[in-house]
Symmetry: C2
Subunit: 237 residues, 2 copies
């Protein structure tokens, strides 16, 4: 029995890691639109932040990002005003949705992983309704496990999204790797006790991602495709 | 005579450094609009770049940035097509001009320096006609030395802009410091054999600026005001 289990483990680990992806900035080129949407929303409630200061907050949960804006502006917002600010952001982002594109290689990357039967999931701090349009762009809305912010208690940098991804795929989180563009993805990976792989396609720097604990950093999904072997994932020749 | 000269030097060096500023991303929050304008322009000529890949090129001269797009896309553009691409960018940027704001503390910083009679200039890779609107926003269009790309042989990361600033102010470049948000400003400072001070307000990371050779890095103009003493500049108490 023990021998059989050990064989199974040997066989299983040969499959290489399961890849858990972030969505915005990792597969979809939407970070810069989110930045400008937040700037517009914040200005409407009299909070002045530079685009760069907003940039480094993108990728954390909606609640946390608002909390950070409130703290750093020295303002106080009641729950109603917080909801209003989030709505302003959602509206300002909606206006920019026509500018959103897939990141280079995003579609090909998911195709390669699917063809090679590498288990894959997406964990995003977006709500389900906001994630639908980008998932449609990727053409994977039905073919892939997706966990959104409204399905977990805490979004990133809490580990919940990625832990739930692993659970739904029926794999051990330790056999997964998290691929994301922001320090919040990498922090969530660390908290989930799994490896984080950074992509530069959200505008965080290599050093920021490495310092957050990324095991490796690639330029964008296209660059990741050509380096899957470095993660122990081996696509067909 | 030698003694008198030495006295004069002693007196002169007490004034502290002359500050030479970049404009976009350093005083004006326009980097993110430039990124999206380039993405839109590039897409119109069939070149696909992620916003993040464009981001790290912002701040270099128009000729160099286009050359880098051409090289990395593997395309060939004739001089007429290059001019067309630049025009597409200018038009796309124009559409976004209403979103441009001053960076936090930009106006106050220049006021402090003016009040303290600290010699100050601005060197920008923009052309004079494009620099006018941001200079008007800063309210310094007539009160400050400004050198634009059309006044020098080579814009950043060549040192010409900042060397010309120093020349016009009648100061030695070695008694200046360059303040900029991009690695191209810091490289220009290094090539001019002067010290570079980085600001995070253009979205480059601290580490990118330090590795490019920045002597110090601050968050934005507001943060620089409270640390002028670290540069040897001493505003009144």
């Amino acid at each position: 029995m023990a021998n059989e289990r050990s064989k199974e483990r040997t066989k299983k680990s040969r499959q290489g890691p399961t890849l858990l992806f972030d969505l915005d900035g990792t597969l979809i080129d939407s970070v810069y639109q989110h930045i400008l949407a937040w700037r517009e929303a914040l200005e409407q409630v009299g909070m002045l932040f530079s685009n760069a200061a907003i940039h480094r907050r993108i990728g954390m949960s909606g609640d946390l990002i608002v909390r950070s804006f409130v703290r750093d502006s020295g303002r106080k917002l009641n729950p109603k005003e917080i909801e209003y600010l989030k709505k302003l952001h959602a509206d300002a982002y909606k206006k920019r949705e026509g500018e959103i594109r897939l990141l280079p290689g995003a579609h090909d990357l998911l195709s390669v992983l699917s063809r090679e039967s590498i288990p894959t999931a997406i964990g995003t701090s977006s709500k389900r309704e906001d994630a639908q349009a980008p998932l449609d762009m990727l053409g994977v809305s039905r073919g892939i496990t997706v966990v959104t912010a409204d399905e977990v208690a805490n979004a990133k940098p809490a580990p919940d999204l990625f832990l739930t991804c692993a659970e739904r795929l029926g794999v051990d989180i330790k056999d997964c790797m998290v691929v994301g563009d922001s320090t919040w993805d990498i922090l969530a990976a660390q908290r989930a006790r799994t490896l984080g792989v950074g992509l530069l396609s959200g505008g965080f720097s290599e050093d920021e991602l490495l310092r957050a604990g990324a095991y490796r950093v690639y330029r964008d999904p296209a660059d990741l495709i050509t380096h899957l072997d470095e993660l122990g994932v081996q696509p067909a020749e």
